[in-house]
Symmetry: C2
């Protein structure tokens, strides 16, 4: 919230690149990704994240997202706030609207959970991990 | 629960191969994966799934998993049941113990959510999708 700069780089702090099938996830690693999983374990929020990711430019404002839901703007804004607070979306205020963009590091961290352990390709998902 | 056969093939019914970044996830697709996300949005269950996946042979019984947790056997069994009911683990009774194995189709469905949309490599995750 305090940093308006969009974070497009992988965050070193995220528990990324730890496939579930690799070696047993530690309690610390689990604690790092569970808040993100909780945030998307909701149909509206999972669809919102998908809409942001698939929107031209990979970013969207509430105004872009509202037509896809039978939900009020405050409700959509609340769900976006939950995704933001879980570290899945960054946001940037431009004039009247707040634009949301998915954090690549979060996507990498979540995706790498389900990467098969075999094969060194796992490490190629992000250079920063 | 009723079928003791381990399901190692991709399930056609799962909402797999639908990257969040591809096109907006439909409400039906979201409804298909949210129960799995809810199940693993818990540190103990996420670690249990990781332990099963990373255990030799990709399968484990409660007896294998118990030493890694400061939890009772009934609690571990409860968490495994939740993972089973969410479609993430299959189980098979052998003598005294029930063995759990991750369902590849579920892993593929979850992993494909976070696959970057660009590039045809997405389709190679599973031939059945």
């Amino acid at each position: 919230m305090s940093n308006p700069t969009l974070v497009r780089e992988a965050d070193a702090g995220l528990a990324c690149c730890a496939p579930l099938a690799g070696e047993p996830l530690s309690a610390e690693q689990a604690a790092g990704v569970v808040p993100m999983l909780k945030a998307i374990a909701d149909p509206a929020r999972l669809r919102l994240l998908s809409l942001v990711l698939s929107h031209p430019g990979g970013e969207a404002c509430v105004c872009d997202l509202l037509p896809s839901f039978d939900l009020s703007q405050p409700t959509i804004s609340h769900h976006l706030k939950v995704l933001h607070e879980a570290g899945l979306l960054d946001r940037e205020k431009r004039g009247t609207w707040v634009y949301y963009i998915a954090r690549p590091a979060a996507m990498t961290a979540l995706g790498s959970l389900f990467t098969p352990a075999a094969g060194p390709a796992t490490a190629s998902a992000g250079g920063g991990c």
